[in-house]
Amino acid sequence: MAQVKNRLSPFFENITFDREDNELVLNFGPQHPSAHGQLRLMLHLQQEQIVKAHPDVGYLHRGMEKMAENMIYNEFMPTTDRMDYIASSSNNYGFALAVEKLIGLEVPRRSKVIRMLLLEINRLMSHLFWLATTALDIGAMTVFLYAFREREYLMDIIEGYCGARLTHAAIRIGGVPLDIQDSFLHQLRVFLNKLPQNIKDYEDLLDTNRIWLMRMEEVGTISKEMALSWGCTGPMLRASGFAWDLRKEEPYELYDEVEFNVPYSDKGDNFARYRIYMEEMRESAKILYQVIEMYEKCVDNDETALMAHAPKYISAPKIDIMTQNYSLMQHFVLVTQGMRPPVGEVYVATESPKGELGFFINSQGGPYPYRLKLRAPSFWHTGILTDLLPGHYIPDVVSIIGTTNIVFGEVDR
């Protein structure tokens, strides 16, 4: 594979192997800095080449699906933060949307706009984090520092909005709890105006970097068939030749009103995925500019509602709770007993930064979901390592894990 160019010949002077087939089993992780969490890979090696890979997951299993069955719907919201903790608003949103679809709720326009702001900021945060950590794994320390610097700006904006930097819980079933703070749009604009130059800086450092290219080009190639068969989604699927983005194909919120492109590549290797992440950051910035305009239009049109009006399921605005007896009673019931969605099933998929994040909810009309299945993209992006790694060399493992962009909060749930 690509490593042949500079492959060192193996040097096993002092080591003897017990088995005749000269196969070495290497445990990569579960405590390995470049395994991006608690991934244990059992690698069968012939010299430096992997002949069999066996990913072992579950070290971060917290039983979220079980927890969901024992919690009221609103109570589960902060738990979703802990899935993909790099972009937690995306998880909040996926869950909120699934429950809204279940009860057939339409969310006010202003909160849709705020949700889109949060979602795209989360996407940028996640992609910047991906770039930083992957570059660091491969040895590009500078990019790591630059990308974390930019991510810090975004985290500050989010912190100003919801008070948290990683586990936002910033979205509610039925809307958003708060309007954005005064400085939000200004800070975001300042950031977005700088972002193209920042992305160009990263690209200047990486795009023609010989080491980066050697580690990325023609390494970890996922064919179209393999991507489909393994249920790849998001950048993993788009890098393998499918221009499939749920924001375009099954638009939710106001994504059908914004202009953006879906970058894709038919190469399927690490480098294609890297390029897609970079282009998606540009597209996110493009979307954010348009959403800022939408928000300003909402302000001009005096659309102030943030939460949907559905007394059976959603608490009234704070001012009503404090002034009207009935709203207070209803709020009390919803907080202590929880909402009771209709009997039925729903599967709702959204495009999280990592791929298709799906929530399957089976409700039996009670305050707790009867069954909730979390479809996390990283789960299958880890599984694909079984088929992807054989044939590669040990250093490729690090770059392949990097570009699959797996997060173990999401794999293990």
Partner: protein
């Protein structure tokens, strides 16, 4: 008299239930209301027995026989362009009628449609693995086995995936309590210290919200702070704690609650 708790479903139950409450239904549409789904269903019906089919929240749900699943998914993948198995898992209905419901969430990227295939199996029955058709089922079926104990025939590696290999019990069953069972309480003690240390260590406390106000070794007592290890009795006075050295710190005036003005007007 102690309240009756059903043993076949030990999950959280609604505290308040209205006897006359009739839960509304998520609306189901007829399959004929969507041309693409209608065509797909007609193609499926020509080859397989369909027990029920409807559209619910933009997804078509099709109920089939358990032994048709492999050939149906193959047919859907090759003929109907449902090229991705997005998700599959089970729902535990053991308390109701001793069955599991298995669902397969299929996606067609060309048609932009999603179909959910469902069937029921009895307890103890195995399902046919579709791992040969969709590699993604490899891990999904392992997860289903791990969580529900449903085995898949012809699966290449039917082992637990999320729980430890030597775990007993299947956590997503409705009979499995949220805080784990007897086995779970001793698992780590046995593993780390050995069975002989059970008496010394005691079972693992698996209730994450547990607070013991008489235990000053492990729990802080806000406003009633005592030195670690103090024996707590019920008639203890509230102990005011001072968090600053008596001599004071350079540049910092010692906080004196008595002489301070406390502003409690939030609108100040």
């Amino acid at each position: 008299m102690r309240a009756y708790t059903p043993k076949d479903d030990v999950q959280a139950k609604a505290y308040y239930t209205d006897r006359f409450y009739v839960a509304p239904q998520v609306p189901k549409q007829d399959v004929q209301s969507d041309a693409v789904f209608a065509a797909d269903l007609a193609a499926i019906k020509a080859k397989f027995e369909v027990k029920d089919a409807f559209i619910q929240v933009t997804n078509m749900v099709v109920y089939i026989n358990a032994n048709d699943i492999y050939s149906l998914l193959e047919f859907m993948r090759d003929e109907l362009e449902y090229t991705q198995l997005t998700e599959m898992s089970a729902i535990d209905w053991l308390a109701k009628d001793n069955t599991f419901e298995i669902f397969y969430q299929m996606l067609s990227m060309n048609k932009r449609k999603r179909i959910r295939i469902k069937y029921s199996i009895k307890k103890g029955q195995a399902v046919d693995s579709v791992e040969k058709l969709f590699r993604s089922a490899d891990w999904s079926e392992r997860e289903m086995f791990d969580m529900f104990g449903i085995e898949a025939n012809n699966h290449p590696f039917m082992k637990r995936i999320l729980m430890p290999y030597d775990w007993q019990g299947h956590p997503l069953l409705k009979t499995y309590p949220l805080q784990g069972d007897e086995f779970a309480a001793w698992y780590e003690v046995d593993k780390i210290y050995g069975k002989e240390a059970r008496d010394v260590i005691g079972p693992e406390i698996r209730d994450t919200a547990r607070v013991d106000r008489y235990d000053s070794e492990r729990f802080a007592r806000l406003g009633y702070e005592v030195p670690k290890g103090t024996k707590i009795t019920d008639d203890m006075e509230k102990t005011e704690q001072s968090y600053q050295e008596e001599g004071g710190v350079f540049m910092i005036t010692k906080f004196d609650k008595a002489s301070s003005k406390i502003i409690d007007d939030p609108q100040r």
